[in-house]
């Protein structure tokens, strides 16, 4: 399995809609400095840097080349990643690979996005095949609309349930100083918000945010001597699906298998996780829309098929609940896309350290799952633990 890897430094900016006061490099620098201070290290202690970003969202081709100084990459090895919504997760996995290989001891992983630069949904449209896909698609929103419609029809879930899921996320976000949207919502507020692609309403979708997050990973030797108790990345799993909605994903006429199920079952089997709702204490699931929460809770085997909306109705997913999901407020409150996957890992790690402040889950948090999801139904799953 290679070297063991832990998270020893965590940093993120306060995510906002508009950051006209700084450029992207300064924003990245902010997150990196916080992570270094958290780990009580300097940039000289970093062996390699992994940075991720969606170039087209800011209009910078080779966005890593435009961020060298701010990211601390000057004269250091490193890689740039861009894998859609999974990027933050993929970046952590890549950092993990670098250290697990034994070739590097300490890695800095950075994710960022400055979505005040352009309408991101328009940039997202270019992810689709140009000749038969691009003119139709409604960005990621359409995927969740179809998901929501299907789920409501099959299991009797109602719009109020997705609205409740959104309200819970808003309550969580208000306890998170870094969160972008800290709204005070009721179910009525959600149900009255503007329809984008039915049944998905504006408030069901994540915002476009500007923000950066950074993690410092190191091997077992360095992690045991780190300034703060290490959070171990015990295992990771990823799976992809076909490149176009035409060929697969959640709207396949007879979907036999999803990337989430494949990746999750492999990870659970390897780590002896037989009852995820019991064996995992905190879930930072990457959920870009409230409508995705129900089917995905089931695909991660948190509950049986058709049961997720009932669990949400009972509010067990709250910070005080038995199955806390996205105690940070989630992607639906904060979504600087290049950073979002990384923020899930950062937030899960803060929970396991007991440093999540007002959003710290009530139950004892020793294990966590952080995920990242991308618009072609790719999934990246990271299994974190306080103990090796």
């Amino acid at each position: 399995m290679g070297e063991r890897v832990a998270i020893i430094g965590i940093g993120q900016t306060d995510h906002r809609y508009l950051r006209s006061d700084i450029n992207h490099e300064e924003m990245i620098y902010e997150a990196v400095r916080k992570a270094l201070e958290d780990a009580d290290l300097t940039i000289r202690d970093i062996d390699t840097i992994i940075i991720d970003n969606m170039d087209l969202f800011e209009g910078h081709y080779l966005s890593d080349a435009m961020s060298v100084d701010g990211a601390g990459m000057y004269l250091k090895p490193g890689l740039k990643m861009n894998t859609g919504g999974t990027s933050g997760g993929t970046a952590v996995v890549t950092g993990w690979h670098h250290i697990a290989s034994g070739l590097f001891e300490t890695a800095l992983v950075i994710g960022w996005e400055k979505q005040d630069a352009a309408p991101s949904i328009s940039a997202l449209v270019t992810a689709r095949e140009p000749l038969y896909d691009r003119g139709m698609g409604a960005g990621a929103v359409g995927i969740f609309a179809t998901m929501g419609l299907k789920y409501m029809r099959e299991y009797g879930c109602r719009e109020e349930h997705a609205a409740l899921a959104r309200v819970i996320m808003a309550d969580n976000a208000r306890r998170n100083p870094h969160a972008h949207l800290k709204l005070d919502l009721t179910i009525e507020d959600v149900l009255k918000s503007r329809v984008l692609v039915w049944p998905v309403r504006l408030l069901h979708m994540s915002p476009t945010s500007c923000g950066a997050a950074a993690l410092i990973l190191s091997n077992e030797n360095k992690s045991r001597r780190a300034a703060k108790p290490p959070v171990w990345i015990k295992d990771i799993e990823t799976a992809h699906r076909e490149q176009s909605v035409w060929r697969g994903g959640c709207v396949e006429p007879n979907p036999k298998v999803t990337a989430i199920e494949v990746a999750a079952s492999k990870l659970y089997r390897r780590n002896n996780i037989t009852k995820p709702s019991r064996d995992i204490d905190v879930w930072e699931l990457y959920t870009p829309s409230s409508w995705a929460l129900f089917p995905w809770m089931e695909l991660f085997s948190i509950c049986e098929k058709g049961e997720a909306w009932r669990l949400v109705e009972k509010e067990v997913i709250r910070i005080e609940g038995e199955i806390p999901i996205e105690p940070s407020g989630g992607v639906v409150s904060t979504n600087p896309i290049g950073a979002s996957g990384l923020i899930r890992v950062a937030e899960a790690a803060l929970q396991l350290r007991g440093e999540a402040g007002e959003r710290q889950v009530t139950k004892k948090a020793e294990t966590a799952i952080a995920t990242a999801w991308g618009a072609c139904h790719w999934i990246v799953i990271l299994y974190l633990s306080k103990h090796l």
Binding site: G142, V195, R247, P253
Partner: protein, 155 residues
């Protein structure tokens, strides 16, 4: 330090040449003559729509097994797009509302054709409804996906 903060507008207008390749090219040319075609994997026998050179599951060449699909099919899912977005291909806002649907065409189970529905009224669209492709007049077709205007309801 000045209190002013600059905002610089940098519009991008790029043109690309895109090679569709012979298989997708055949699909688009078939649309021009009013046909909807898929190809079938010699290994798993699954249809690919639009046609591809390689089967993603078996990872073998698709060969020459071409299948013509009916213009009629069944709606299995749909999205009503209400909120306008800036379309980078048009260089302008995309007109709304429009409805996109996944349609299983007769003769092509297990694959879906994604296109617009003529019907924009949510109360009149449901799963299982029967639709039929409406093509542009022959002289207006260009060998693109827009050679089909939309799918109209037939039952």
């Amino acid at each position: 330090m000045s209190a002013e903060l600059l905002e610089i507008i940098i519009p991008l207008d790029l043109r690309y040449k895109y090679s569709a390749g012979p298989h997708l090219g055949a699909f688009l040319r078939a649309l021009k003559v009013g046909k909807i075609i898929a190809n079938r994997c010699p290994g798993c026998r699954r249809l690919q729509l639009p046609p591809t050179p390689v089967c993603g599951r078996c990872h073998i060449g698709m060969g020459q097994d071409w299948v013509e699909l009916s213009h009629q099919g069944t709606v299995i899912s749909y999205s009503f797009v209400v909120d306008p977005i800036f379309d980078p291909g048009l260089g302008d806002m995309r007109p709304v509302p429009y409805t996109i649907a996944a349609i299983v065409l007769d003769g092509g189970p297990d694959v879906a054709f994604f296109h617009k529905l003529q019907e924009n009224d949510p109360s009149k669209v449901k799963e299982g409804m029967r639709v039929e492709a409406v093509f542009k007049p022959l002289q207006e077709r260009a060998g693109t996906i827009e050679d089909i205007i939309h799918f109209r309801t037939i039952g």
